[in-house]
């Protein structure tokens, strides 16, 4: 046991001390992520029985990974709000909905904005609508934050929870633009064609996964810039002692609003990607459970650390799919008949129960999350028995 931990410390120590090694590792890992959905990759490795544990059988691997990446984007956005600024937002999925609906309304030829209200002649291309979706999500973040950020803690959680429900119920019942439950079909896809002339972005999830993965990388770097600046310091200061922060010259309200706006914008990007892939948007996706699932991802992974948010976002989507694959391999039943009722026991259906339990366990034994902030700095300090050099608030 100690040999294993010793080896672990040596490996992590090496990467902590050598920046080129760290960057190299990250580059290799990112490259690995890009080839991950290719079945050929596993077959090329040609180790029978090894790829099965990774590859999902219930759903196309690329689809699962795409779902992971847009969930990770959401987790990254929510991490800014919950992790850095310490504002409990239970309605984060609302911004995802704003992004998705914006794209759907502007790119679908069946959008009522075109067919009934003649706001514009023909659908816009997907790419054009993304900045608009981001802007509208950001705006809705500001609009929600402006009144609600005056309350703190649990009250804020309730207000945001209400916001997400309002968005969902409007989407469900509102008929003159959003089309209620019937939704908006034929949402536009991102641009681009393969050399043979077929569109890149259609129904194959792989290119969407690559696009979303690229977005995740961009988002990570941009958020990192913020976190390592006065903005990140202000957020952490607000999280730790809001009154003291205000008295030290931090315009707390403004920075809380920024956190909300940035989180919302990232959520909007995620929504526009999802709408582009899914091709169809209606209210069914925007249930409160999804907000809670994203929050669970952030808390599970480790609030206040981007790597933690990514890990959490990955786990909440991938693990149930993976369990389902494992279940398929070992013959786990999809339904169980108890008395006269068919109980759905497939891992994907049970995931909320599963993550509920997991979250309780993690919160009891590891309340800081699986991959919390500063862990690296702490390890560093323990090993070197010296002062840690400038890590920043990241």
């Amino acid at each position: 046991m100690s040999a294993v931990t010793d080896l672990w410390h040596r490996v992590t120590g090496f990467f902590n001390q050598s920046k080129p090694a760290r960057i190299g590792l990250i580059v290799v890992f990112v490259a690995f992520l890009y080839v991950l959905p290719n079945r050929e990759f596993y077959e090329y490795l040609n180790i029978p029985g090894v790829w099965i544990p990774l590859y999902t059988t219930g759903n196309d691997m690329a689809f699962v990974l795409f779902t992971c990446t847009w969930t990770i984007l959401l987790a990254l956005g929510l991490n800014v709000v919950v992790g850095y600024a310490g504002l409990l937002d239970l309605g984060f999925f609302g911004f995802f909905a704003v992004g998705a609906y914006t794209v759907a309304l502007m790119t679908s030829p069946e959008s009522k904005l075109i067919t009934e209200y003649n706001w514009f002649e023909s659908p816009y291309p997907w790419l054009v609508t993304v900045p608009i979706a981001i802007a509208l999500a950001l705006l809705s973040g500001v609009l929600l934050g402006w009144p609600s950020l005056r309350v703190r803690g649990d009250y804020l959680a309730i207000v945001t929870l209400g916001f997400a429900e309002v968005i969902r119920i409007i989407a469900k019942n509102q008929d003159w633009i959003l089309n209620g439950d019937r939704g908006i079909p034929q949402v536009g896809h991102p641009p681009g064609t393969w050399p043979d002339g077929t569109p890149i972005f259609q129904f194959d999830a792989k290119p969407y996964y690559w696009l979303a993965l690229t977005m995740v990388i961009v988002a990570v770097f941009l958020i990192r810039n913020l976190v390592r600046s006065r903005v990140g310091r202000a957020w952490v200061a607000i999280r730790e002692d809001e009154d003291a922060a205000e008295l030290m010259g931090v315009p707390t309200f403004r920075f809380k609003l920024w956190a909300f706006a940035i989180g919302a914008a990232v959520g909007g990007i995620s929504g526009s990607l999802w709408a582009g892939y899914n091709n169809f948007v209606n209210s069914a996706t925007f249930s409160v459970e999804n907000s809670i699932l994203v929050l669970a991802a952030v808390l599970l992974g480790g609030a206040g650390n981007q790597a933690g948010a990514i890990l959490g976002g990955f786990l909440v989507v991938y693990v149930p799919e993976w369990l389902r694959s494992v279940g398929d391999v070992f013959g786990w039943p999809k339904t169980v008949r108890v008395f006269d009722i068919n109980l759905d026991v497939s891992p994907t259906s049970l995931r909320y129960a599963f993550f509920g339990v997991l979250l309780i366990v993690v919160m009891i034994f590891r309340p800081q999350g699986l991959w919390p902030n500063r862990r690296r700095a702490a390890e560093f300090k323990d090993r070197r028995q010296a002062v840690v050099v400038g890590e920043g608030v990241g």
């Binding site: 903005v231 310091r233 952490v236 003291a244 922060a245 008295l247 010259g249 400038g390």
Partner: protein
């Protein structure tokens, strides 16, 4: 001597429901001095502090800082105008390092915000560099440079107090309000704190000091204002205040101890 008023507390009354926490308090703080604000427990010293720094809005009266009315202004704006404070019960950002704590103070005057930080624009970069340099300088000034990368929570008690002073100084104040900075200090620590307060004044910052320890107050202040039950009962030089019968009555036996 030409004395310019820096802070004017003008007939300030503060009521919480039926409780009168401050009752028509008047005093003026002049540039470059160290003013002590003393009084028995519950006299309203911290309340007075809170009214000055914008935590409470006075029920009546005005507080003017550098000639401008400040009651009712946003708290971070008051800090930006040049008034900084520490807290009676230490309120650092516990999980941030000493450097980051002080940087938060230094950020108070920075102009670049989210957009330029997002894109790492040169101007933002410049400000970050300046802020860091200022923070290191201030940490050096208060004598805890060697703690720079330690998390605030892990600092020894005395260094936490110093870090609070450093964080306040990093906002580049013209007036520094210290709320019982020597609470829980031993005599040696008190002596070095005294020295630090003088050093701060000599660097051009006016100091308002709330303190229980009479020896410290008598030793360092130029003038003293005494509060009791929310009212000002005396004002003057340490010697005058010490001989004031009202003060003696409020602080039974204190003159002997001093």
């Amino acid at each position: 001597m030409d004395r310019k008023p820096l802070l004017e507390v003008d007939n300030v009354t503060l009521r919480f429901g039926g409780v009168v926490a401050l009752d028509q308090v008047n005093f003026t703080l002049y540039e470059g001095e160290i003013l002590g604000l003393i009084g028995p427990n519950g006299a309203g010293k911290t309340t007075c502090f809170n009214a000055m720094t914008g935590v409470y809005l006075p029920t009546e009266g005005q507080i003017r800082f550098r000639g401008e009315q400040i009651s009712g202004r946003k708290r971070f704006r008051i800090t930006k105008m040049g008034m900084a404070r520490t807290f009676q019960n230490i309120r650092l950002f516990p999980e941030m390092t000493a450097l980051e704590n002080v940087q938060v103070g230094a950020d108070a005057h920075h102009r670049t915000s989210v957009p330029s930080a997002l894109l790492r624009l040169p101007r933002h970069w410049q400000e970050e560099k300046q802020g860091r340099a200022l923070a290191e300088e201030v940490l050096d000034f208060v004598g805890i440079r060697h703690r720079i990368h330690e998390v605030a929570r892990n600092l020894p008690y005395g260094d936490q107090r110093r870090l609070e002073i450093a964080r306040a100084l990093a906002t580049r104040p013209t007036l520094l309000c210290l709320d019982e900075p020597a609470a829980g200090f031993n005599p040696a620590e008190k002596a070095s704190l005294l020295e630090l307060i003088r050093k701060i004044r000599d660097s051009g910052v006016t100091v308002l000091l709330i303190e229980h320890d009479m020896r410290l107050v008598m030793g360092v202040t130029d003038r003293i204002v005494v509060l009791e039950f929310g009212k000002k009962i005396a004002e003057g030089s340490p010697a005058e205040v010490r001989d004031n019968p009202k003060v003696i009555a409020a602080y039974l036996g204190v003159p002997d101890a001093a």
